[in-house]
Symmetry: C2
Subunit: 528 residues, 2 copies
C-alpha cells in the first residue's frame, strides 16, 4: 500500500507568456498556490511591418504585480530567444535568475552592459536533471501535482561536439515514475526523421576552411559557442588565425574563453585589426549577422560599409545558420550582396554549412514516449508547429483530453478534475523603440503603418474670430507624392485658396536620416 | 563550301529590364539596328518595406522613347510575372503583343478590365518552336547574328498533364545548327536533381479530395489553368461540385472554359452562392490567395472576413503553391489563421500538394547541353540563382567568356569581336500606388519609411512681422508616442510656451482606416 499524499488545495496553473504561437521571446510561467516559477525570458526580433521597433519582449505585467510570489527565473540555455528579455525585464521584476553555467556567462555579459541590471542576481547551476547538454538543459519541476518537464530547445544528438549526450535513461526513469506535464520544443515538428548531429559540422567546416583559397568569413549566432569552437578547431587544422567581428560575438568569445568553454592554441585568436597584416590564406573571420540583421557585421560587410572587413578577391563567406521564419528575405539579400562583391558564398541551400538545434519528428516522438506525460503542451513554435506536434502526440496514442495547444496568455489549470483552459492574462508583445515602450493597444504602430501607407498632409490656416482666413493657407506633405507632382496640385489649389506648399522636412534631411538610420535624440521633442 | 552571310553592321544588344537579380517583372529586350523585340512584360508584388505600393512594373522609359522601333512584345506564357505589366505598359507603349493561345486568353481578360487597354492589339500565335508546352513556350528569335533562344519558365516534364511534352529533338536540332545565345530560367538553379512531373499532382489532389471528410478548399495561382483542371477532375472522381472564389480566378476560369482549356462535366462547376445548399462532402472550392496576398480570397477566409466562405468543422484547406521568396511570412500567417479556425490544412512542408514549374539543376544542364550556345545569360532569378546557374554552365565546360551574369539595366553587346557589357539604361522598379507612379528616385517611399520609423510631429505657430508669437502654438503628432505619454511632454512644454497638443488625426480614424485598408479617395488632396 503506497502512502497517498493529501491533494494540494491550489490548482497548478500554466501561463505561457511567449513562444506559443510564435517563434521567439520564449517565456513560460508555472503557478501553484503562493509560488510562481518562470522558465526563460527571451526576445523576438521585429519584422518589416513593425517600423522603428528595435526589439520585442514578453508582457510581464502580470508577474510584476505578483512579484512577491515569484521564486525565480529558470533559464534553459543562453540563446537570445531565451535570455534576451532579461535586461529589459529584471529592472521591473527583481527576482533571482538560475541558469546553466554557459548561459550564466552569456547573461552576465548582457546584464553588465546596462547600469540598471548590473546588480541583478544570477546563479549558475549545475544541471543534473534529465535533458542535459552543456550549453543547455531541460528542466524538471516538482510541483505539488507532480513532475513537470520542460525540454527547452533540444535535439537528440548521440555524438555531440563536447561528448555530453542527452541523458535518455534519466528521462525514462522520470517517465516510469509518472510525469504530469511535458512542455516540448515544436520548432521543427513539421520535419520528418531525425535532425543530424552537430558532429557533421566539424567535417563540413573543416572542408570549407581547408578548401578555401583565401580568407574565410563565417557568420553564425553570437551565442552558438559550440559552433565557434568548431571553427577555431578547423582554423587550427589548416594553420589559420581567427578574428571576431561584431560587438556581441567579441564579448561572448571573451567570456567563453575565460570560462573555459572555448579552447584555442595561444596565438590562434587575434584581434581583427591584426588581420590586415596576415596572408589571406591564414585568416578566418567570424561575424554576427547570419540572420541578415540590418546593423550586423555581415550585412555591413555585404554592403561594403564595414570598417573592419573589406571583401576581396578569393574570399569565401560561410553562413552557418538557417534563416529564422521572417528573415528569409534579409538573408537572401545579404547573400546576393556578398556575391555581387565577388565573394564565394556557402549557405544552407547549396552546402551543408548548418545543422539546426531542434528535434525533428522522430526525436519528438522519442521524447513523448520516454516521458509519457499525463498532459502535453507543445511549446516554441508558430501555431502550425504546435498543431503538428500535437498531431504527433495524438498519433502516438496520447489521450486527446491531455493534449493542449495553447497560445500566449491562455491559462491552463490542472487539478484533480483534470485540465482546462480557464481564461487568459495579457500576453501581447511589448515593442521597444529605444526608450519608448509600446504594447498592442498602442496607437503608435498603427499610426506609423498608416503614415507609411498614405503619407501625411498638414494644412495650416489662421482663422479669425469670425472664421475668416487671416493669411495664406500652408499645406505641408511628406510621403504621399513627389514634391514636383504635389506642387502641380497645390498650384491649382492656390489659385483658388492662396495656398502654398512646402515639404514638412526637406527631402535631403529625410534621406540622410534614412541612410544612417539615426534615431531622433530624446530631446528632439523639445527642440522641434 | 558554305555560303557566308555578310556580317551585320549593327551589334546585337541585350537589355534586360526585369527578372535579372530579382524574382518577378520579367522583361527582356533584344535590339539590332532598327529593330527592337521584347520578351514578356511582368509584374512583381511589393514587399513589406514598400508601404502603400500595390504593384511593381518594369521601367519602360527607354522603350517608350524608341517605340517606333519596337516590333512587338512576345509573351512566353500567361503568369502574372510575365504578362501582368501589360495593362500598365501598353497605354504608353502602343505595340502589338504576340502570345500563345492560353496566354492570349489570360491577357485579354486582363486588358478588358481597363478602359485604356481595351483596344490593345494582341495576337494569338501557335507555337512550333523548340520549347513547347500548351500554356507556355520557349522562343527562338533569328537575329542577324544568329539564333537566340529564350526558355521562358520551363521544366522538362516527360509526362505533362495534357500530353504535350517538350520538343527535345527540335532543341537538339537548333543546338546542332548553332545557337548564338541562350536565356534560361534560373529560379531553381540551386536545386539538385529533377523537378517532379505535374502528373504526381493528379494523384495527390485526388487523394486530398477523396480523403477529406467535409469541404475541400484549394488555393492556387489564378493563372495556373492546368492545376485548376486537375482539381476539377479530382472533384468529379469523388462526386463533388467545384465553385470558384476570387475575382481573377472566376474570370480566368470563364475564359479558359470558353476557349476549351478547361473540361468539366455539365453541372460540375457551380456558382459560389449555390455552395451553401450542397452537403459539405459534395463541395470543392478553389480560391486565390496561395501567396498570402492581403486582399485575396483565402486570406479573407482565414481571417473570417469572407462573405463567400465561412470555415466550418471538417473543412480541409489545400495550399497548392510554394511561397515566392518574400511571401513566406504571409503564407505562414494564413496557414496559422486557417488552423486557428479549426480547418485541417495541407501545405507544401507537410504534404505533397504542389510541384513547382521551374527546372532543377539536371534539367538546366540538359537545356545547356542540347542548345550548346556560344553565349549564355541566366535569367529569372535573384542574383544568387543567376550565379548558381552560371556555375552550372561553367561546370559543363562553357567558355567563361561566354557566360554573362547580367542584372536589370545592363547592356550586353554582341558582335564579331565577341560580347561585352557596354553600359546601362534605367531599369529600376516602377512602383504603382493607385494612380501614383514612383520610381527609385522618388522621395515618396523614403519619406514613408521615415514616417513609419519615427512618426511625425508638426508645430504650428503664428508669428507676426516682428517675429513674436501671435497666439497659442499648436503641436500635432502621429506615430511617435501614445497620446497619453505625449501629453505629458507637451504639458511641460506648454507651461513654458503655451503650447497645446492634438493628434493630427483622431486615433479612431487611423484605426478604422488601418482595419479596412481603405485608400484615400483620389479627390482627398483637394478636400483636406
Amino acid at each position: 500500500m503506497t502512502e497517498s499524499r493529501p491533494l494540494p488545495e491550489a490548482p497548478l496553473r500554466i501561463l505561457p507568456l511567449g513562444g506559443l504561437g510564435e517563434i521567439g521571446k520564449n517565456m513560460m510561467v508555472l503557478e501553484c498556490g503562493d509560488d510562481i516559477i518562470i522558465v526563460d525570458c527571451g526576445i523576438q526580433f521585429p519584422t518589416e511591418d513593425m517600423p522603428g521597433v528595435d526589439l520585442i519582449i514578453p508582457d510581464v505585467s502580470y508577474l510584476v504585480a505578483q512579484s512577491h510570489r515569484v521564486r525565480g527565473i529558470l533559464i534553459t540555455h543562453g540563446h537570445e530567444d531565451h535570455i534576451g528579455g532579461l535586461p529589459h525585464v529584471l529592472p521591473d521584476l527583481d527576482v533571482p535568475v538560475y541558469a546553466p553555467k554557459l548561459a550564466h556567462g552569456l547573461i552576465t555579459v548582457k546584464l553588465n552592459e546596462r547600469r540598471r541590471t548590473r546588480d541583478a542576481v544570477v546563479h549558475a547551476i549545475e544541471p543534473e536533471e534529465p535533458v542535459h547538454i552543456p550549453d543547455a538543459m531541460g528542466i524538471c519541476i516538482e510541483t505539488p501535482w507532480g513532475s513537470v518537464i520542460h525540454t527547452g530547445d533540444f535535439k537528440i544528438d548521440h555524438t555531440p561536439v563536447d561528448g555530453h549526450t542527452i541523458d535518455l535513461p534519466a528521462l525514462a526513469e522520470r517517465g516510469k515514475n509518472g510525469v504530469l506535464l511535458l512542455f516540448s520544443d515544436s520548432t521543427y515538428a513539421e520535419l520528418p526523421g531525425y535532425t543530424p548531429s552537430e558532429q557533421i559540422m566539424t567535417d563540413a567546416l573543416d572542408r570549407a576552411v581547408g578548401g578555401a583559397p583565401g580568407r574565410v568569413i563565417i557568420a553564425t549566432f553570437a551565442s552558438l559557442i559550440s559552433r565557434i569552437q568548431q571553427v577555431i578547431t578547423a582554423a587550427e587544422n589548416h594553420g589559420r588565425h581567427v578574428a571576431f567581428v561584431g560587438r556581441s560575438m567579441v564579448a561572448n568569445v571573451q567570456m567563453a574563453t575565460e570560462m573555459g568553454y572555448l579552447d584555442a592554441l595561444p596565438g590562434t585568436i587575434v584581434p581583427v585589426r591584426d588581420v590586415a597584416g596576415l596572408p589571406a590564406e591564414r585568416v578566418v573571420l567570424m561575424t554576427t549577422g547570419s540572420q541578415g540583421e540590418p546593423t550586423s557585421a555581415l550585412v555591413r560587410i555585404a554592403k561594403g560599409e564595414s570598417r573592419d572587413v573589406v571583401l576581396m578577391e578569393g574570399d569565401t563567406v560561410v553562413i552557418s545558420a538557417t534563416p529564422i521564419p521572417g528573415n528569409e528575405r534579409a538573408v537572401s539579400q545579404t547573400i546576393d550582396n556578398l556575391l555581387r562583391q565577388g565573394a564565394r558564398v556557402l549557405y544552407d541551400r547549396i552546402a551543408p554549412v548548418h545543422v539546426h538545434g531542434h528535434a525533428s519528428q522522430e526525436e519528438l516522438k522519442l521524447m513523448l514516449n520516454l516521458t509519457r506525460p499525463r498532459y502535453f503542451v507543445p511549446v516554441h513554435g508558430e501555431y502550425r508547429h504546435l498543431r503538428a506536434h500535437a498531431q504527433l502526440a495524438w498519433e502516438l496514442g496520447a489521450a486527446p483530453d491531455g493534449i493542449f495547444v495553447l497560445e500566449d496568455g491562455e491559462i491552463l489549470e490542472i487539478d484533480q478534475d483534470g485540465a482546462e483552459v480557464v481564461g487568459s492574462i495579457p500576453a501581447g508583445p511589448i515593442y521597444l523603440d529605444g526608450p519608448t515602450v509600446m504594447d498592442t493597444d498602442s496607437v503608435v504602430l498603427r499610426e506609423r503603418r498608416s503614415l507609411a501607407r498614405d503619407g501625411v498632409v498638414v494644412v495650416c490656416a489662421g482663422v479669425d474670430q469670425d472664421g475668416e482666413l487671416t493669411g495664406q493657407v500652408q499645406v505641408a506633405g511628406s510621403g504621399f507624392m513627389d514634391p514636383g507632382d504635389a506642387k502641380d496640385i497645390f498650384k491649382r489649389l492656390r489659385r483658388r485658396w492662396r495656398w502654398g506648399f512646402q515639404a514638412i522636412c526637406p527631402p535631403t534631411t529625410w534621406t540622410k536620416r534614412a541612410q544612417t538610420s539615426e534615431k531622433l535624440p530624446d530631446s528632439s521633442y523639445a527642440t522641434i
